[in-house]
Amino acid sequence: MTMKPFSMIALGWPMFLLCGLLIRPLRKWLPRLLWLAPLPAFILVFFEDVGAPVTLLLGAAAALWSIGGWAVPSYFPGGRPGVGFIACWLLTLTGSLGVFLVEDRVGFLVFYALVSLPAYGLVVSEGTPPARRAGRIYLGFAILGENLLLAAFVILSRGVMPLPPIATALLIAGFGAKIALLPLHFWMPLSYTAAPIPAAAVLSGAAVKAGIIGLLRFLPMETTPVMWGGLLVTVGFCGAFYGVAVGLTQCHPKTILAYSSVSQMGFLAVIIGMGVATHDGSVATLAAFYGAHHVLAKGVLFLAVGACAARPSLTVAPAALIGLGLAGLPLTGGALAKLAVKAPFGYGPAATLASLSAAGTALLMTHFLFRLADARKNPAVSSGGGLAPWLLGAVACIAFPWVALSMTGLSWSDVVAPVALWKTLWPVLLGGTAGVFLRRIRIPKIPAGDILALATPAVRTAQGAARALGHLDTTLRHWPVACGALLVIVLALLFAAWL
């Protein structure tokens, strides 16, 4: 594993806190110290040159982990989550920040495993049957992704140029499982609905970006064949619209946010795909800028769900600003992100689709805002915790894109130009209006995890196959069969060697 010395400190510090769990008196205090864990990484962003994409994503991720960590105690009785939750939190955090900082491939896989596997503990921490089911599915996908990436990285490290297509396919599938690219998306709504709110916040905001940085780093936009860019754009747009469509049928605000994540990650895949398709390396920074805004926006919207019962007045309005901001409400951070990625889309059908997907986001966010307003009366959805972290997060989310604007090459005057304002405003108006009308229509409900419901026949087939293998095993373990097999093997080996 290779990394810069300061990165080692930044990643060693949460591990050090983790060791604090072993000391009984410290255990009590650790939940209140969680916000400290990502701070060294956050500080690192300001004075170490790690490249623009990493700076943006790491900065936002570290900020979200800190805000989320601050919110953790208010969501657990007595302010003390279980030891397992803390351990999983710190491990996932280390992995989430580590994927940005580590420089070699094996190291990347290590941190990628760290951001994927321990998050299981966060998903199931409520221990309910749906949470356990979500956890199982989450873990299955994590291991699947890990295996696909292992194969891809083995090919990468053989140094064959140009990269064989199978390696690129494995990379896209592996990272796609992490960022919930269609059709590998259905774990996402299940897990984010099941996870406690602060965990859902950091998972949806920060942890998924491990997949984004992976795509940016290992599918270099300058050299990857154009075809793969086209694939990413297609799959990404499908995800972007599919997420909106299924999200609209959901009631629980967390599920709606999760489907919005499916949609947003799809859009991010589109941006990366455009960069690949045009062989334009500068798109990486723009994608990172968009991603970084999504880190904070999605993370704090989850916190809004929790905080809404405490002070609805301080929750719904800022949430509206951030939520519609994701769709590109003018002068919000989201609008900056949308403007930043305008360039790679140009003026073709891709640009129209991008605007339509923004309208879709506005529609979904309007739906979310109505559900959020309803949620304040429902203690099962909103416990009323974490108001202060939410407010800080909201401020950070609105301020961050303005601070980081210079990294995208846009200037202030570009952003406030009337044309630019209109370009981002009309999708929001369109989507928002549609959202208000949609409230009057009854929409059929689709269970969270949508296509998972279709998997029953596959499960039945698998069970049948497992039963058949069980019978096979029983047969083979009869003495005469095994002895006969031994002789057959002798002959087969002889036959194979002799020919």
């Binding site: 299955g140 291991i143 295996n147 194969a151 083995v154 003495w479 093997i489 002798v490 194979a496 002799w498």
Partner: protein, 489 residues
């Protein structure tokens, strides 16, 4: 002391230990055995140091007679890695076992205690002999010594089920070793020597039907002893029924003995001559093991049976090195897998033993709350499971990396599919084993000495460190290899 003398010492030390145990009786058995096992570990490390320092294999001709008449001992990189692995696992089992097999102060001395300690030393001795042997007949004797030590370990508790499992194991192992011996006889008849180094020189110039009959017989016999699918009939009842310390030895070490001989046969004696098909056949059996073992492990309700079936599956990975022979990463991947599996599996079986002691049984649904009752063991359990699944940066991961790399450079993508499917299945069955321990639940209070928990954890950490230091291990594995491994017809 010269490094060649260390080779003798590592064989004689455990034998001396057995004799002393017999003389000293059950009361002294534990002390004597632990001292011997520590010494065994030190000597193994000493041999490793000597091999590393000189960068060449260390050899010793017993009685000053050279091959073909004399018997040669030879320690190359492969031997050293396995010697140290076996020494660590045996020592860990020794430290773990006392409570199970101790004679209480003032209590009656049991036959069980005496038997366990002498068998532990016997396994240790036989493993060392297998790793150092350079003569196929000598290796046959070592292999039989290993079987005779392993069979009684299965039935230490003396229940009917374990006696039946032991008998079945013995009979199948005997069938396997008869085939092996038949192959050895044919080899001798054809080449007039059984020395591996000499044979590898001879078979290159005169391969032929008798050679392949011998190789086929020996390989199948060894596969039967390794419980390679579909010859695994004896493994689940034997490993699942034995006491935990015995299961750990059987699963971690004993099956590796016959596997190691297969490696010696294929990679050192007939390297690159067997053609494509034989390797593919062995690999196909390995793939069968990975899939069937994995699925069966998923279906088990008892923790120890689950771990036993996972051994069936993990043995499959070992045999994937044969179709990939000659490509960089095949041999090293297989050997890394052997070592990583030894550490992880020993840790799991010993951990399962502690959990069963607390919960009263090893049913999976009875393991809730183990995380609180036995935090160190649970931690070790998770680590060992990660290594078996092949999550970075564990030893299991590095082994898979090497095997995958060999599969890609051989252009045999089907093994990649097998390895990846195996990873998913392993994820599934290890999840089944680990998850109940992490769920809240109430366990009866039981006083488990911390030392035993630490041993379990130490083994799991070894599996983890093997990944971290894999570069060093890979370098070590290369020492003393013949230069002809790249040849293929």
């Amino acid at each position: 002391m010269s490094s060649a003398a260390l080779l003798i010492l590592v064989l004689t030390l455990p034998v001396a230990g057995i004799l002393l145990v017999v003389v000293g009786g059950g009361r002294q058995a534990r002390g004597i055995s632990l001292a011997v096992l520590v010494g065994n570990f030190a000597v193994a490390v000493g041999i490793g140091g000597a091999v590393c320092r000189t960068g060449r294999a260390v050899t010793y001709s017993s009685g000053g007679w050279t091959a073909p008449l004399g018997i040669q001992l030879r320690a190359d990189g492969l031997s050293v890695v396995m010697l140290i692995t076996a020494a660590v696992v045996a020592l860990a089992v020794g430290v773990y076992a006392p409570n199970e097999f101790a004679v209480r102060r003032g209590g009656v001395e049991t036959r069980r205690s005496l038997a366990f300690w002498s068998l532990l030393l016997a396994v240790s001795c036989a493993m060392n002999a297998i790793f150092l042997g350079n003569d196929f007949f000598n290796l046959y004797v070592a292999l039989e010594l290993l079987t005779f030590a392993a069979v009684p370990l299965v039935c230490l508790t003396g229940t009917r089920a374990t006696l039946e499992a032991a008998l079945r194991y013995l009979l199948f192992a005997l069938t396997g070793s008869a085939l092996y011996l038949l192959g050895v006889a044919l080899l001798y008849g054809n080449y007039g020597t059984l020395d591996i180094t000499k044979l590898s020189g001879l078979v290159r110039y005169e391969p032929g039907m008798p050679l392949w009959v011998a190789v086929a017989l020996m390989t199948s016999g060894l596969a039967a002893k390794t419980a390679l699918f579909p010859l695994h009939l004896w493994l689940p009842p034997a490993h699942g029924g034995a006491p935990p310390s015995a299961s750990a030895l059987l699963s971690a070490l004993v099956v590796k003995g016959s596997f190691f001989l297969t490696v010696r046969l294929w990679f050192d004696t007939v390297p690159g001559q067997a053609g494509m098909r034989t390797g593919q056949l062995l690999g196909a059996m390995g793939a069968g093991a990975i899939v069937v073992g994995g699925v069966l492990a998923l279906k088990q309700e008892r923790l120890k049976l689950l771990i036993a079936y996972s051994t069936v599956a993990q043995i499959g990975y070992l045999f994937l090195m044969f179709p990939l022979a000659g490509h960089v990463g095949a041999l090293s991947g297989g050997m890394l897998q052997a070592a990583a599996h030894a550490f992880a599996k020993a840790s799991m079986f010993l951990g399962a033993g502690l959990m069963a002691e607390v919960a009263g049984s090893d049913r999976l649904d009875g393991l809730r709350g183990m995380g609180r009752a036995l935090p160190l063991t649970t931690c070790a359990f998770v680590l060992a499971a990660l290594s078996l699944v092949g999550v970075p940066p564990t030893g299991g991961f590095m082994a898979k990396w090497q095997l995958l790399s060999a599969a890609f450079s051989a252009g045999q993508w089907w093994w990649v599919v097998v390895i990846l499917c195996g990873g998913l299945l392993a994820g599934g069955y290890m999840f089944r084993a680990v998850r109940p321990t992490l769920v809240e639940g109430i366990q009866p209070a039981a006083a488990i000495p911390r030392l035993r928990e630490w041993v379990v954890l130490a083994l799991a950490v070894c599996a983890l460190l093997l990944g971290g230091f894999s570069k060093k291990v890979l370098e070590l594995l290369d020492i003393g290899r013949p230069q002809i491994t790249e040849m293929r017809p």
